[in-house]
Symmetry: C3
Subunit: 171 residues, 3 copies
């Protein structure tokens, strides 16, 4: 009987065209503007394609969903030679705020919303948002410190469970 | 004969519940405290769920498993606006050490061990630790410079081999 | 009839040895030397093993494929305590250039080429290179600003499409 031989062949035939991505679970771990946006843009891009999107905020990246911090996120103007600013200029008081404003203007021109709005937009489009339990405890935060869009505070183990069957992207 | 039609249906039925994650291969590439901990926490979280965990240390992240450097890893207090420190304050001698101590105290309160202990704990729980051959050569290190928990020095190609069937997470 | 029972068993038998990785899609998002190299090294390592490699350049990481910027990429000497440089020394004019030269020398000794050459080498070996549409628009760039090795400017959605069936690695 050739049944067991036929089943694997079918499987191989299916794999010639790779299975499309159906889920992404994106970790946002950095608290700078250039650290937070890539994860949001990838989550939003996923939702626009009908791909399931989970966002998991941890360490300083949690600022993106903490009410008191969300709108204060800035571009790093030192330790970021790509900006082309000499360190001693980048270190001037107000410089980080200035460069941040410049970048925000450019983003606005491209219809990329400010972080608070962007986070809400992703939630509204069906993306799920989670804060990392270990980080929440470390920074002494509570559920009420987070914006409404955050669905839950979960552990790393729970994150792995919900990421099953998709791609994990750490940003 | 409808056999080839039946096999794919079975496959689809199985996929309704996604296959749990069984392996993670985590790359640690940054040499700051906030750069090293996320990878360790994710590896530890994986082991606690019975998920296979490989850690691959590369570039400055290698400091986490180099004897002479492991306990000297610090928080970046400049280029990290999320801390809320003005750059010129963050640049003061001793400031990075001070903020590092504060964060270590908080972690201790949460039972998150110092890096050296944490690395050993992950190894003891069955996690595998590797150093990146290209980085080892670049920094002129030898096997004896590493803590005992490190299993081997491997190439990128070997890393891809052992990561097969799991998730790659670059931190 | 036991046909549906046999097919899943076959599937489990196949999974004992995990399927090798056949494709990696690597995102390069940072514009420092230590931010760009890991992604290039992982792409090159993939091609050497016959693994399909896609590189997607976004945010400051785009500098690695912008003609006017490619050879000016530097090591961050502040915000990088792993270097062991006090911040006020790292901030001295010229310090980033100096440390960059030191690292480039070490890389040359290891046959790791400068960024421009390395990017071309990956393209020559069959790796595909893409710039992120949102970032291209944000920085006001055009196709002609990029080195020849760049195949196309694509959206996040298109990136997910080409990454299907492989691993996404965000660096």
């Amino acid at each position: 009987m050739t049944m067991t031989a036929i089943a694997p062949e079918t499987a191989f035939a299916v794999e010639v065209e790779p299975k499309p991505i159906t889920k992404v679970s994106i970790i946002i771990s950095k608290g700078t503007l250039e650290g937070v946006y890539p994860g949001l843009i990838m989550a939003n891009g996923a939702r626009m394609e009908g791909i399931e999107a989970n966002l998991f905020f941890t360490f300083f990246g949690m600022d993106a969903v903490v009410k008191a911090k969300q709108e204060k996120i800035k571009v790093a103007t030192v330790g970021n030679p790509a900006l082309g600013l000499p360190t001693l200029i980048g270190a001037l008081p107000g410089m980080s705020g200035f460069v941040t404003k410049q970048m925000q203007k450019k983003m606005e021109a491209l219809d990329i919303p400010p972080i608070g709005e962007f986070v809400q937009m992703i939630a509204d489009s069906g993306g799920k948002l989670y804060a990392c339990k270990a980080s929440v405890d470390m920074f002494g935060l509570e559920k009420k410190d987070f914006v409404e869009a955050v669905d839950d505070v979960i552990t790393v183990g729970e994150f792995y469970e919900l990421a099953a069957g998709g791609q994990i992207i750490f940003t």
